[in-house]
Amino acid sequence: MDFADTPGEAEFRAEAAAFLERHAEPLTGANAVIRGRVPDEELLRRAREWQALKAEAGFAAITWAPEHGGRGGTPMEQVIYAQEEARFAVPRGVYEIGLGMCVPTVITHGTPDQHARHVAPAVRGEEIWCQLFSEPAAGSDVAGLRTRAVKDGEDWVINGQKIWTSGAHYADWGLLLARTDPHAAKHAGLTMFVIPMRAPGVEVRRIKQVAGTSNFNEVFFTDLRVPDSARVGAVGAGWKVGLTTLMNERLTVGGSVGTDFDEVFAFVRDLDTEDGPAIRNPAVRERLAEWYVRSRGLKYTRFRTITRLSRGQTPGPESSIGKLVTAGKMQEIASFALDLQGAAGVVTDRAVAPMGALFQETLLSAPGLRIAGGTDEIMRNIIAERVLGLPGDVRVDRDRPFSEIPAGKR
């Protein structure tokens, strides 16, 4: 075992670091806010500029083939670039959905014309994408979606509603999964489309989240008309096309970070209690140890995944546990850190709340992480079925025409 780069990896890392040092500021407490906050006009402008710079330097689509504007690099190089970029205050959260999920789906399943139209502008940051899968009645059960696309001559006419759509309010394009045949079985009646988000017939409404911010949207379609050339993959093949997107989503979300051991460790060392610093309390120490081994267990699990990538292998099943463990741990840490603050734990004013209200904000954002990109329960099902090889659920709706499947009231 060793933790060193191969010579080729070291060379790439040096190139990436040189690019970042030339064009970006190192991350500090003061400029960290640029990452992860809900994008506003200013952040979108800076994100566009940064994306264009990355594209110019060949870091915007590292693993994509050169004919798609990529570098033809390895997944390991993607990991190395992400590790290096994490040290810098660069805008994030705007292009991940497009370049991580939507456009790879178009590349895999789309036509040469679609490639020519969409890939290059996305890589250069000129166009932003959103993903239009989830619906009010189709969350974990995405294939139960009801948005209809009806063929009318050479066009498709789309009516329905999507929800939980990150970035829909500033996106240029959306990857939309719609039902084209309600009389086919649930998974067989779906088709994928690329739709223009600023066309008449598309209405975006912001959703205010638990934390008070609004990055999600509802998107309504009223007689939206798109040509058949907007279809991605065959009619009725939408589920298979969509699985490409969802697998990418889980990899993308699984790598996210947030409030973790280091933050709560710093907090309990500084927090004064009747018996001295809170870290002297055995109950606190026990929890710290548990979070430490989960946090470092995940870190070293990522090392195992990176090792496989470095050897040119695909990530092993262990890489699927990241989001499940991270989300629950964040919620526990936040709740416990607030318990130690007593009545003041309710105060969210950043000027007075400990650590700039980090734990208060985490308490309110953590429930979303346990749901987005596959709920804890769906993640467990996926690990059970794909990793442990356990049987799938008994599906009472699988072979019935979608139109005959009972719908609930919520």
Binding site: V293, G297, L388
Partner: protein
């Protein structure tokens, strides 16, 4: 980044897995459980001949020179087989002798340890309580040991003991005692895990030779930390075996017209075990590297591996019984072998709360160093 064991160690692991499946089935463990033998002598002899016990011992001292990473991959397989052999004690004694023995003692003792011809035990505890220097009442005066140690894992079958005792200077040291010699009385103790021997050792002026190269409580802690790493691999091996058993049973057992593995209550339970096992495995990998490389953060890495492996084996062993239902609670099913072993391994180096506290203490020290 190469965070995986070397190919030759993976081959060693695979060889060990098939060897134990063939030669150390749970039927052999059950002969010890049922009191027909004090330990599985055939397996012990065989793995001694194969060089497993000497994996971390240098070749010039009779070891096989595989290194600590090699010892760890073998420990995982021994844990998975829930083998009824004094392996854990051999790991602890080897660390003690490598750390505190002088060159002559190492030459005299380690070859026998490596072949398994000499069975060693480590005598630390003196009744209930986690390891603590003030709990050490046994003492050596003029080369004679007086005091009582219990429980001593494998104390009833060992030839030699490494004993933690006070010395004439009022400090603490490690001493070597011949258990067949004068002044030693051994009493068997019944225990949670009858597949591993437990004894009370009474010393009344037994001849005791100091291991002089490392002294004080720090030496005892170093032995515990360094042993904790291969033992954590034994624990994740056991946890892996429990998950495999639970999965196989759930796939075959039908209820309500379906395999019970198709119910989310069972699926999610098995996933929680899988997640705990993977987290523990990753912590163990890092600790194996830290032990092999003598890394500065070995103490932290060993404690983290110990804490997560203990939690994983506990969870896997108890939920394995739960998945098996009533059958899992019978003497005939193998589930209880792992449930017993999980608790034994979690206790014999000090319980989980003690290791969690040590882990946080190490983190406080490391963080203070970084701040300074």
């Amino acid at each position: 980044m190469n965070f995986e064991f070397a190919d030759e160690l993976l081959a060693v692991r695979d060889g060990a897995r098939s060897f134990l499946a063939k030669n150390a089935p749970t039927a052999a463990v059950r002969r010890v459980l049922d009191g027909e033998a004090p330990y599985d002598a055939a397996t012990w002899r065989a793995i001694g001949e194969l060089g497993w016990l000497g994996a971390a011992i240098p070749e010039e001292l009779g070891g096989s020179g595989l290194g600590h990473e090699g010892l760890c991959v073998l420990a995982e397989e021994i844990g998975a087989a829930v083998a009824a052999i004094p392996f854990t004690s051999a790991c602890m004694a080897a660390e003690a002798i490598l750390l505190a023995g002088d060159a002559e003692q190492q030459r005299a003792l380690l070859p026998g340890l490596a072949t398994g011809e000499t069975i060693f035990c480590l005598a630390l505890a003196e009744g209930p309580g986690n390891p603590h220097p003030r709990a050490v009442k046994a003492e050596v005066r003029g080369g004679r040991l007086t005091g009582t140690k219990w429980p001593v894992a494998d104390g009833g079958i060992a030839d030699r003991a490494v004993v933690v005792a006070g010395d004439a200077d009022g400090g603490i040291g490690l001493f070597l005692v011949e258990l067949a010699g004068p002044g030693v009385t051994r009493t068997a103790l019944e225990s949670l895990d009858p597949t591993r021997n437990q004894a009370r050792l009474d010393f009344a002026g037994a001849p005791a030779l100091p291991l002089p190269a490392a002294r004080g409580w720090a030496a005892v802690e170093a032995v515990l930390e360094r042993s904790a790493v291969p033992i954590a691999f034994e624990q994740i091996g056991g946890a892996r075996a429990c998950l495999d058993m639970a999965r196989d049973f759930a796939m075959e057992r039908h209820a309500f017209g379906r395999p019970i593995a198709s119910f989310q209550a069972i699926k999610h339970k098995l996933v929680d075990i899988y997640v705990a096992n993977e987290l523990a495995r990753s912590n163990c990998y890092y600790a194996a590297w830290a032990l092999g490389a003598d890394a500065p953060d070995l103490s932290t890495a060993a404690a983290a591996a110990r804490v997560s492996a203990t939690e994983a084996f506990h969870l896997a062993s108890k939920e394995n019984i739960q998945v098996h239902g009533g059958m899992g609670f019978t003497w005939a099913a193998d589930c209880h072998l792992y449930y017993r072993r999980a608790k034994l391994l979690s206790l014999m180096l000090g319980g989980a709360p003690w290791w969690k506290d040590r882990l946080v203490t190490r983190l406080e020290l490391t963080n203070a160093d970084q701040g300074a």
